[in-house]
Subunit: 361 residues, 2 copies
């Protein structure tokens, strides 16, 4: 067992990605109880929701788990851009018998400024706390660290990895371009080299002193074994867990994910306002069409755009069309399996061990 | 040793990517003599050049080697688009005291239609022949197969991998999005899911019956070990070999590649007309600026655009500016090392073996 696994308190080098809106306390507990590190995310809830979620998780496992927060730069209102976005979506709303909302709101607060959420996290004192989209300021970081939590942060580049290490983060989650869901890039307006898992993990392992957790495109035991060979101390899998019965993924999301070779993903900022990888569907096709207009119609920032996306999904779903959902998935989607979480963890562990034996024979 | 390595006739699971314009017979021979599979590419030459290259290579090694050909859809002239591209580049030509060429030519023929090149390849009967950008028709493929060559083909998706397998290709090179140089996608006008090495290799290994060779972002022994864990039978490295003294990379290309963390890559079709990954430089910045115009100025097809790019590079280089070169490199560029090819192969082999021991302890 590596130092990182000892610190995390898990036997297996496997983390279940804490997917906001998709993971649940039941999923996290099942994963943790099976010997990997389960996780929940607070990015799509408020302090009260977080308290309820963490209480449910504590009741369901005595094992360590990971609690993730989104530390994005707080939304800046841009009335003109928001109105243009709503105008552009309006015909699609009307096609499903609905009207777009009159205005958009930044529906989630950032951990960077949410004092109530900080208090809820400190009070719950989770064994592991992970930061996505950036790092909190020194005072907030110190408050979380004082609970004794092991601290993780997502990095998509060496610069972000270095920033996390300098802030005293215990281990960095190297999130490759393949990864599903929200890309953790600190500044979505800056150029993004879009480093794949292979290059990113190797780069961070070579240049950082803290342990690296590989994420992006890892779906099975062979992927876990490969991540460890790259020098990662563990692998984080998200898409692999989306089809578990314990996740909150809606049926249409599961069906699209389990379409086999039809499960094709794209990176888009049009659903939430930040780049995120999801299954190509009616929504991503609409976003692409708007971007192809002259001049292009581009989404407002995160999470304001998400307000529009959720309304559009609700309107379409009410008429039976589920292709406007945020169907997050990584490039490994065609390898997804629908297994109960405990069985999936056991399968991953068995595949990982078998692949070690097979390849070294 | 796996079946693939036995068929290729090499001891190490390492292929040196046959980089058109950058690899040389000396590089390929040094790699093959060191126990890996060296390679040269014929995509930037004609039948006479190929004969000379292959004679030089045969004289320098008695070991197996790989000869790569580009099988792109032959260029279609588009006078308006070509003229617009030259117009857009003209101010940059003039900044270096030159005029753009009056017209562009498709400077390289495709193996899909080049009978003289087919004759040269059949005559030389290389031990391994690899196809990039697509597959030749059945008659040409049969002619090459009849020489006894082991046949490889690049695939960037499962569909391309399936096409290669159906054509009777012996092993597929799974080229991830991280890879440097020309992306092997069969149809550059079709949507590209941009699969990273991690997801692509795993997907092809799971779904194809032929062996898979992993490519993209692999720079050292740990990367090779990881590729094998993903189920690949070997790893192909290109960028790792660019800084070898035996390559033909110009000094500015080497210097940019060895800039460490400054070695940042982008995928661009603006240099040659097909998507290719290179170090960000003045040329890629210019291409980006042209694409950002309203309406966007986009490059003609391959290899016609390359004619303009080579002329621009020559004009700028004549005035001492080397930032318009085609400085191909993959995302692993910051991990590049300047070692003689034989020493690099020995280092890769040692690192690979050490990483097996270290990780299994």
């Amino acid at each position: 067992m590596t130092d990182l696994l000892a610190r995390l308190g898990v036997a297996l080098p496997i983390l279940q990605a804490p997917m906001a809106g998709t993971s649940t306390p039941a999923l996290a507990a099942a994963v943790s109880n099976a010997g990997a590190l389960g996780g929940v995310a607070l990015g799509a809830t408020d302090a009260a929701g977080a308290r309820a979620m963490l209480a449910e998780l504590r009741a369901a496992t005595s094992r360590p788990f990971n609690v993730n927060v989104f530390v994005h730069a707080p939304a800046r209102a841009d009335a003109a851009r928001e109105a243009a976005w709503l105008d552009a979506l309006a015909p699609t709303f009307r096609a499903y018998g609905a009207e777009p909302p009159a205005a958009l709101r930044p529906i989630y607060r950032s951990f960077a400024e949410d004092d109530a959420m900080l208090a809820a996290v400190v009070e719950a004192a989770p064994p592991v706390v992970s930061f996505h989209f950036g790092l909190p300021d020194a005072a907030r970081l110190a408050a979380v660290r004082a609970t004794g939590a092991v601290l993780l942060a997502t990095a998509t580049s060496l610069a972000e990895g270095r920033a996390a290490q300098a802030a005293g983060i215990d281990a960095v989650v190297a999130q490759g371009w393949e990864a599903g869901g929200h890309r953790g890039v600190f500044d979505p307006a800056a150029p993004d080299e879009r480093l794949g898992t292979f290059a990113l993990v190797r780069l961070l392992v070579r240049h950082l002193d803290v342990p690296v957790i590989a994420a992006g495109g890892i779906m099975d035991g062979a992927g876990i074994a490969a991540a460890l060979r790259l020098g990662a101390s563990a692998a984080q899998l998200g898409t692999a867990f989306v089809a578990c019965p314990e996740s909150s993924a809606p049926p249409a999301h599961r069906a699209a994910l389990l379409a086999g070779e039809g499960a094709r993903t794209v990176m888009t900022a049009g659903i939430s306002g930040r780049p995120a990888r999801c299954l190509a569907n009616r929504f991503t096709a609409l976003v692409d069409a708007l971007a192809a207009r002259t001049p292009p119609v581009l989404p407002p920032g995160y999470p304001t755009t998400y307000d529009a996306g959720k309304a559009l999904h609700a309107a379409a779903a009410a008429r039976g069309e589920h292709g406007y959902g945020a169907q997050w998935a990584g490039q490994g989607a065609p390898l997804a399996r629908a297994l109960p979480a405990a069985e999936l963890v056991a399968t991953l562990a068995r595949e990982w061990r078998e692949s070690r034996v097979a390849r070294d024979a």
